[in-house]
Symmetry: C2
Subunit: 361 residues, 2 copies
């Protein structure tokens, strides 16, 4: 089986880590011999935008749909206002490819030093899957500005929640929780202060929860209090479901608690499989270290593992596990850790080490 991958390296370290991920994916295919990848690399980036005035051509959606999956590096560059770069590429892809779920697993990989002392002693206490609503809510994109430069300027952001949108993410979250040993789902909300959209969010959660009565345990947290619980009682949670913005914030915090934002993966999924899903590390383009060959490719590799898992539809789980095993063998070794993990290895060294491990495990 040949999988067609649309590769969008994007900006900054997105380029370095996409290159690294491709090497690792090819090595994985070669070692297993039952599948392979072909790549179309798209030069959709801030640099291209500055030259030609657009990130993606008009037929971008058609081009992407000719692939089985999208591998995304990072987008964002100091020369372009962030709200332009994001709304011309990553956010339209998530929305139009119907990638309404963003899955963000977090756990403490071997060799990672967690900043919280409880987790230094018991790294296993942190093992979460954050299920992020990825299509609406605070990222609906509506709102506007009146009297922009005048004294009476008013600007709005309209968060939109639909029953359809909430129900499908809740169902996905409950199914995710159900498939894990602990069968536990924590729902995050801010319905005490946000009394319209978030109240619907809560209501649909409890409706769907009824279908999982006795099967999946559930509880509810306010987003502010949730940060406290993540720091103090990591072991009390397993699967977490939250809105687009809340989960964006909580997943960065989760990555920090797990030791580095450089290791965290994300999967933007269209569960209907009618459109290609997209896989990207959660870190950004990191202009400060771009082009220096020192970016941590582990988040990119973990994202690649999730891509393999998704593409295989159950058939390639052992291959994905093999990649995760190779990654942890490498992070477990001090000399093949990047700077953010307390080592001094470069992107290439880590990549070669992972490729070598793939041949071994």
């Amino acid at each position: 089986k040949v999988y067609k991958i649309a590769a969008i390296p994007g900006d900054g370290i997105g380029v370095d880590i996409t290159e690294a991920a491709v090497k690792v994916l090819d090595k994985l295919a070669e070692t297993n011999g039952t599948f392979s990848f072909t790549y179309t690399t798209f030069d959709w980036s801030s640099k291209a935008y500055l030259q030609r005035g657009y990130y993606m051509p008009d037929d971008w959606a058609t081009q992407l749909r000719a692939h089985d999956a999208i591998y995304f590096g990072a987008v964002g560059w100091p020369d372009v206002p962030d709200h332009i770069s994001l709304w011309q590429m990553i956010l339209p892809i998530r929305q139009q490819m119907n990638q309404y779920v963003n899955v963000r697993p977090t756990r403490i990989l071997r060799g990672t030093r967690a900043p919280v002392s409880q987790l230094q002693e018991k790294p296993g206490d942190l093992d979460w899957i954050i299920v992020r609503e990825n299509s609406e809510g605070e990222y609906a994109g509506q709102g506007g500005t009146t009297h922009g430069h005048a004294e009476n300027a008013v600007a709005t952001e309209l968060a939109i929640f639909t029953r359809v949108g909430i129900e499908r993410i809740m169902r996905f979250a409950f199914e995710t929780a159900k498939a894990r040993p602990r069968r536990k789902l924590t729902m995050v909300t801010k319905s005490n202060a946000q009394r319209h959209g978030m109240v619907l969010w809560d209501r649909v959660f409890y409706e769907v929860a009824k279908e999982y009565e006795g099967v999946v345990e559930h509880d509810k947290m306010l987003v502010d209090a949730m940060t406290v619980r993540m720091v103090n009682k990591p072991e009390s949670m397993d699967t977490i479901v939250a809105t687009n913005l809340h989960a964006d914030i909580l997943s960065d915090l989760a990555a920090a608690l797990a030791g580095s934002i450089g290791i965290a993966p994300s999967s933007n999924l269209d569960p209907t499989r009618k459109n290609p899903s997209m896989f990207e590390p959660i870190h950004g383009s990191a202009p400060d270290i771009a082009g220096q060959g020192i970016a941590n490719p582990v988040g990119a590799f973990w994202s690649a593992a999730e891509m393999v898992r998704w593409l295989g539809e159950g058939e390639l789980d052992t291959v994905a596990d093999q990649l995760m095993q190779a990654i942890e063998n490498v992070t477990g070794e001090p000399k093949t850790r990047t700077r953010d993990m307390g080592g001094s290895a470069g992107t290439e060294e880590v990549t070669e080490a992972v490729c070598a491990e793939i041949g071994r495990v």
Copy 2:
């Protein structure tokens, strides 16, 4: 000078800690002899609401305005949906009393055990003032629901940002930063994804920043990345300014990193002084431990110290410092710490210990 305080104990442990704060305030006045407090205690609570159908009477604003300050315990009780309790009391008070600033200082009090190991070694690395916009943004209260119980239900939350609202909070934040030794302000935003309101937020920030060129150093963080920086580089920040929702989330995280949500204070200020300002610990009503006499009153005492500072307009700073000193002498002693701080003392014991210290320091 006699200061008239409107005391609103509210729900759950709000009652315990307000009682404790009053004792400490009276002791402080008695010891100093130059000022005193009189209290009007309002029974505005969820219990009262369930009996009579409202939290506050129609003329609540007039009643509150007859006071120099408001001392608030906590609101929220399982029997009443949170969005009702909050929108019938705390949020209208903040908005109508023009308390457009919410100041949340955070540092690691003596005797507190921070969960992050860097902070266990160097507690001084965390010393922040979070300046929270307290009147608009995501808490504007607008939005609504259409087709509430049908398949096509849609609910919205409208975040509203005004230039006037942004400018005044930015000015307050820069002034706060300027008065601190490090003169450093970090502005938090999510203008990459939220391209209307948050873009205005950024623009006004940079405008106001020009007035402080060379006086206050400033930088900008995305709210998601901010959580990572708070965990990993606490020493790199001093004063922080953020929207109503972002600061709500970040201040809970800050309190957790500082060792306990039970110690964190907040001041809801009307800087024009036309309306009474309101002082409240940031913790909630904690139904699980309410009425057991074990709530940590430290956040309440710290809030009381901030109230004294505010009321004194510069004249009572040493008195506020005296209270803070007394608090830290008490938290410094293992036997007068509450459970959340690793001890086993009750609310009353801690209160008596602080009163005794006030007489001594």
